[in-house]
Symmetry: T
Subunit: 145 residues, 12 copies
């Protein structure tokens, strides 16, 4: 089983800024922890980060031909991108939406997600732990457990 992990805009700043909101783990820390759990679960994960909606859509279209599902933290695009929703529906694979912070506890414009209604599952508020929970959930979903 092969999973693509997509990090959206600004996540390259993780661990360096706004640590009271997003914690002190860097993107590398998170990718490392996800890789460790993936090994334990016997699956492969490839990580991708971009600040560009277009680049993420290009990646979706291309990676959609070699993976079994997506783990995605779309960051700010979550709330504004119909194109990302269309792309995720278009590739036709299950995906899990993850957020480090609890978006329901933040500004009103973060309460609506274009992705949630078409996601296989949603995990939010657990800090970087959330990626591990999301990975477990996605793997179980693909394995049909």
């Amino acid at each position: 089983m092969r999973i693509a992990l997509i990090h959206g805009p600004n996540l390259g700043l993780l661990g360096r800024r706004e640590t009271e909101v997003y914690g002190t783990d860097t993107l590398a820390d998170i990718n490392g922890a996800v890789d460790a759990l993936a090994s334990e679960l016997g699956v492969e994960v490839e990580a991708f980060q971009s600040n560009s909606e277009g680049a993420i859509l290009d990646f979706l279209e291309e990676a959609g031909q070699r993976v079994d599902g997506f783990l995605i933290n779309a960051a700010g695009l979550t709330h504004t991108s119909v194109a990302l929703r269309d792309g995720l529906v278009g590739v036709g694979l299950p995906f899990v939406e993850v957020h480090i912070s609890n978006t329901a506890a933040r500004e009103g414009f973060r309460h609506h997600s274009y992705l949630s209604p078409v996601a296989a599952g949603v995990v939010q508020g657990f800090g970087s732990q959330g990626y591990l929970l999301a990975l477990r959930g996605l793997v179980a979903r693909i394995a049909g457990e």
Copy 2:
């Protein structure tokens, strides 16, 4: 570490009705799976189900004095009960909100939760698997990982 698992209204019907939405696991199946994972993680879980908002509030108030956190699927009360939100905030312990179905993909009135803004984390859409993810997330949160 001790966790209370609260099941809200109608969840006694799990596994018998609307299985296309909620799956075929009964409440007992779910409690069993949560117990198994709890043992593995070295924590204790006590489960409680009620169709009555008042009874859940009574339980919160009482159990709040012997546990370290709550795992809660408030079902229909999620969307209507200010009292439940007040109770959860009042006892002052971290709680994780879990939903079997993906509420974002269902009727509009299920898109708003009174609990999410004050939850430590939210897990939805993974079927009964979601309880296990939520337990892991809550334990990690309490342990300060």
Copy 3:
């Protein structure tokens, strides 16, 4: 054929208060009239009243195993209880929603019903006569007329 007739919160006050809105028939009068028509139509009706949402949900779950449909005046819960809607959908039997007064002619918050979209039919504004119309409609529906 067996029907359960459910009366929601405050309906124990019927005939004693606000008679200009709800008329002078008591709950016993209504139950009696429904019983009389039921005999005429050759069906059995059991009546239940509670002020507690939780108790109504308990009743739904239990009675749902011995009746063919529900007649329900959910009173104030009509407008606020997602849990009741979920319970009615959960037991999977046809139900008819009845209101003594014409809720469309009253306060704005009574214009929305969580139950109507999932009801087999709705009858409102006919005073206690409405129960008889609703019973006829439900029996015809179950009989497949």
Copy 4:
């Protein structure tokens, strides 16, 4: 006692189109069933159908001088015609609003009725059976039962 039964726009298509929504009874079938029940109840009913709001208003104004109440399925006009509401209030007779389908379970624009707040009663969702329930309700109302 004399009742006018008004059928609004497109109801001439009944029984021929969209039978999964409106059933297989034609307008003639419904008028026949209403006539049969009317005989049983000892009242007279005259039926009228028009696709024109203006013609319905003309009929209301004229028939309002020889009948005791109206039974009306205003179809699409239910949701858009202030003029029809004004006409019904203007003639000053009780009327019952009936819908074959359960409008609360259909598109959002069918959830608001200009007629309901000024109706004597509302019956919806019972298929063509609903006309019979509505007739019973209206007759009881006029008879002052």
Copy 5:
């Protein structure tokens, strides 16, 4: 100068029903009073009443070729008819909107008029007197006073 006076749906009932809202003058009384003032002002007025939006539009299109302006009480169509607005704009003559009652003091759906934004002037709340005020205003407008 020639003016057409248009009365919309249900105004044929004037003076017979809801006299506490619309007063006791009949349509003939109003037309007579308008004629008397018209003579005094040296203008001609032709009156037209219809319950049908289509017939009013036909009249607009035809009369628009022989008159200098319109006086219109569109009754219920005021609040719902884009077609009437389009027709009035289409004929390209000044028109004054008049209402017998004060629509701002009635139900919320009467607070919006499709006609007002394109009217030369609006007069409401003066009872049948309002027609006379509106006639004076329209004549002054056409005369360029």
Copy 6:
């Protein structure tokens, strides 16, 4: 019969600025024309202008003891002043609301008036002519015509 004519904020600028919206008549011109018509109708009119809501309320309270009704163009206060509405209701005399321009054809915030629902009548869009129409309407109202 005695009438007070109240001009609200900025109306002292009439005839000097924005003449394409408000015309070229000055406040003195309008007061003169109103006086002329008042003489003709056999009534007395006293005019008052202020840019201050408080001063207008003081005037209302004081003049309310010697006049029979008010003619008021509240200008910008029309859309924002609950206090003005309360004052007009408080003095308990009939008043007519007049606007030089057609407020329904201007910015959205001018479409709502706090005064209209409690006014005896409303006249708008006729330029300075509107004051004369409004005076006629108010006099007829007070005279009980």
Copy 7:
């Protein structure tokens, strides 16, 4: 193949008024151009215009038995008529909605169409050219291209 072309309220004024919005082609010009293209495409077109919603519904019901689809410019009814939508759905034939002007660039109340969600296609903003595009689109749709 046979097509009915329906023109709604006020379109009889085309080419004579508001030419800056609707252009200088008359209804006859448009019908002529449509006929010419129809001949070229080998289909027959019959045109119908009415200011009356009821007459349009009558036509729909009757013509629906001899044509293969509709081309419709419903004008003002586009935005207000549930009955027209119901009629178009009721006859069960594909139809294309056409507007001469670009309704999205006009008043807010023209931005919503009751017809679009059930149309086979929508063409707007191309002036009278739009009828030709719409005819091509409808013919291709019926031919199953």
Copy 8:
């Protein structure tokens, strides 16, 4: 004179949790202070607390037969319970609504109260002092001062 004092859901936690919002007085402290003032004013007060809406309605119905009015802090039910409003109106006694915190300064969903429009008076924001003010106000109201 006899007064019933009703405490809604979660108020059993008073003085133990969220003391920055609700202060340090326990429910017993508040009941004691109310009793002391009641003695001074020569009235009797009986206090009741429940987490269950149904139980509160039962109490209302029963106590309504022996008291002269209610003092109620409905807590979270204030904002969601139509049934509670109906019950309070149903028993037909004056009641005063009290809140410890200033609900207008908290989350948006606490700004609407189903109870306020039918209350004799409302007191909020004074901490536990508010109960004493409310008692004085209710006693004065019942005494007809």
Copy 9:
């Protein structure tokens, strides 16, 4: 301790008009009763009334230097004045908002107060009694009880 009591626009009419809403006490009666209670409580009160928002703000700014808190019935300004809110926050003293009538039971535009979210407490619906309750509440608040 010194308190300023502010009466907003139109309150000079108290006891003379709309007595069914505001009761028969005049402003002098209310000031007298407040003075009496103030003596009993050992505090001084100075009363001020103005119809002008600007004058009230001037008073706030000036009196804010010699008093310990404000008691204010802002009447119509309650619902429209951001400036008054800013002034009250600006002087930095605790204030209590009082309304004679129960604003929650009146027109919709009276349901929102700009002052409540920044008030120390709110008292409404108790008639002129409310001033006494508000005074007690404010004194207790300032005294730190």
Copy 10:
């Protein structure tokens, strides 16, 4: 005459995914058909596809110097991109908006287009045929037919 045809995000997936919504034609098929019609009409078309809003804007800016108009299917950007609207207005050339599916029949967030109010015309719902209709419409518009 030279036209640029712009395909927005995810349209590279055409013909491979969600064929029940978008049909089986690939992007190459559509470009081919457009080219064929362009030859017939004697115009040149250059096609461009990108998943990136920024790249589309770069293309607009550059191509705007050599073409006479644009044909654009902006896909998901239609509903979210103010920048794309600004770019299209900025280059100052006529453009036609085309959608393969009937967006009015899909999710609510697809009902609003930032582009339509500034487009020369809109074509939607005709499948890949729509590009040909749009091309004809744009060519006629540029040619001034």
Copy 11:
């Protein structure tokens, strides 16, 4: 060139209260700094402060005859005064709107300004520095730079 600088309600409190929001500069400090910059730029500035909307309108009307533009911080009136907007438009001179704090970062009701849509420019969030920027911008605007 001559400029009038208008300070709205409560700004007399500047530098004494809420210094964390508005800074420690007093009104005199700001006027002094503006004067200094004015001298440097070779223009004259006269400053005016009032808590009364009416007085500000009086000043606008009078000063409008001797100055070339206005610099205005309308404080709370920004969000509520249509009369102030009308006055500024009425005098027909360019004005710049300035706010000390960043209103977009404060309460929701401060996000809408009646003045911005008719202002020559807006400057907000720079503390008392903002007046200097606004002065530069206004002078450049009047000078036609």
Copy 12:
């Protein structure tokens, strides 16, 4: 002190298109004027323009390590990009938002900015002059004046 000046989508068109809205200065003119003022103020400015949101975010992330603040005209992204807001907050430096036109006087969707609530200041409506005002404001802010 070092400042980065960011120009968003379509601003490369400045001075060539829509000059009635944006003026005749090109991007180079603006950059030149900003450089000149920067020299005068003793600060360095580096300018960056991109049509791509992703590229702007990359620039923010990288430049954020060598500059002291940002001057940004985000153009259309102002109204739609949560990601840009997140990026600006993430880098943690003060920024000033500038718009050439007065966005409050344009289409409704331009009235909301995702950036304003987190900006140090906002300047709009002054044409290209606005950049100079914004630079002065930002420099003063960073210098702590």
